[in-house]
């Protein structure tokens, strides 16, 4: 019964590694921000899986709720910060700016 949850958690960790590609490589900073947002949403699910595996669901659900809140606030603040031109230039093409 719990093997289903365990294998789902392992698969989710692999998928998060695939999502990490856009965060590491992404040409602009906004791409990285989008990758971080996607990984944060997946982490919310992974936290509940960990809670079920350790049989402490009631504690880990609160952590997941706080993580979802924190993810939203972080993305909002970073998006407001990069409103200006500085977040955009492609650092692979023109390094001298």
């Amino acid at each position: 019964m719990e093997n289903v949850i365990l294998y789902s958690g392992i698969a989710l960790a692999v998928i998060m590694a695939v999502s990490l590609y856009r965060t590491v490589v992404g040409p602009t900073i906004l791409d990285r921000l989008m990758g971080v947002n996607a990984i944060g949403s997946e982490t919310t699910v992974l936290l509940i899986i960990i809670g079920i595996l350790y049989r402490k669901v009631d504690m880990f659900i609160d952590i997941a709720l706080a993580y979802a809140l924190l993810n939203f606030i972080a993305v909002l603040a970073a998006a407001r910060y990069f409103h200006k031109k500085k977040g955009l230039y492609d650092e692979n093409e023109n390094k001298d700016r």
Partner: protein, 111 residues
């Protein structure tokens, strides 16, 4: 019990497949604005399906009691919260791109 296993496994499998689709789409699509469309799939369908499976597991595993019902309600609360905040976050990111002057990728006419 075997019915619960099958249902939870099916929901988790479809949700994880949508997560994988979103990750692959974020790699394959050409520019920032079009990559945001697969990234939106995570917050809509993937979180709903996987959280639905986990909520059913938390409700029915070890018998229905008050504590398990509270766990179920909290997971539903997380899904509702994500559904409220995800359009706002997506709009904040795409608005930052538009204000900074990043031009959307369009298909070449003479191709």
């Amino acid at each position: 019990m075997i019915v619960l296993t099958v249902i939870v496994g099916l929901l988790m499998a479809v949700g994880l497949f949508i997560f994988l689709t979103a990750a692959v789409g974020m790699i394959r699509f050409p520019d920032f604005y079009s990559r945001l469309h697969p990234a939106g799939m995570i917050d809509c369908m993937g979180v709903l399906l996987t959280m639905g499976g986990l909520a059913l597991f938390a409700l029915f595993d070890g018998g229905i009691s008050l504590a398990s019902f509270l766990n179920f309600a909290k997971i539903v609360l997380i899904v509702v919260f994500i559904y409220i905040t995800s359009p706002t976050a997506t709009h904040a990111i795409i608005d930052a791109g538009m204000r900074a002057g990043l031009q959307p990728w369009t298909k070449k006419k003479d191709m």
